[in-house]
Assembly symmetry: D2
Homo-oligomer: 92 residues x 4
């Protein structure tokens, strides 16, 4: 079972909040709110994306790279490769 399944409830709650933030931003644009407010809402969405990424990375490391339950070196290496790919793309 994938860690994203195991933590499905927690992650879905986070994504639901993020969708709520994006919808609030959409309404603020429709309502022609001031741009200081718009910029703060965009910053909140980015903050939510960073928080979600942190949670997924943590679970990925614990479940697919560091877990004592992994018995195959190839599996562990694949988990490490996936992690490194996303870190490279995300920190660019």
């Amino acid at each position: 079972m994938s860690h994203t399944v195991r933590n499905k409830v927690s992650l879905l709650a986070r994504v639901g909040r993020m969708r709520g933030q994006v919808e609030a931003l959409e309404r603020a644009l429709q309502a022609e709110k001031g741009c200081a407010e718009i910029m703060q809402q965009i910053a909140a969405v980015r903050g939510a994306a960073n928080g979600l990424m942190t949670e997924v990375i943590e679970e990925h490391v614990r479940t697919h790279v560091a877990s004592a339950a992994i018995t195959s070196n190839a599996t562990r290496t694949r988990g490490a490769d996936e992690l490194i790919d996303i870190v490279r793309a995300y920190l660019r």
Copy 2:
């Protein structure tokens, strides 16, 4: 008229795409997709937030700070203050 009004159509299209990305992420979690795919989708949302922020900042600078149409120094200074506040928070 605020710059967020003037560019309302373009910004709403961007936010609509971002909402679509968040909804796709939600579906991927529901469907128990692999975490490499989940992480890429989160990275895409953050990229969309950065792109939107860049567009809003650009319009803010042109309309509320640099515009030749601004006749009051206080107005220009307020636009600059708002910009600096968001840059401080966003680059922290």
Copy 3:
């Protein structure tokens, strides 16, 4: 006079501290310190770069875009263009 000249002392002090951080990181690598410590030192350098960028952007906005002392619209527009270029590159 450029704002980077006006705030030269403050900015040079910041860059001096950043150089000190990079030199400390170099010594930590030479001394074969643990990687948790190394990673924290790299994070500190990035934080210093972000803080410096924030200060330079703030001064740029006040001096080259929003200043009441600017009498030419072309000058103000050039200041805005430079700002937008760096925001685009930095938030990518």
Copy 4:
């Protein structure tokens, strides 16, 4: 042997280049260069910090979390904890 030792030469070369960038920035400020140039140089330092962090994280994952040579679960967990701490701080 720590991975930061094993890759000491490569990492020291990177840090040396970063120090060179910070020194160039210092000279640019001393020489009262324009702020567009200053801002580009700051962005280069941040890019170097991100590149260095990526390299250290990659080596940390391979050596202290995913390596087949690790025989103790506690050691692997400690490596994972260190990684997660830095990811949390860096993506905040």
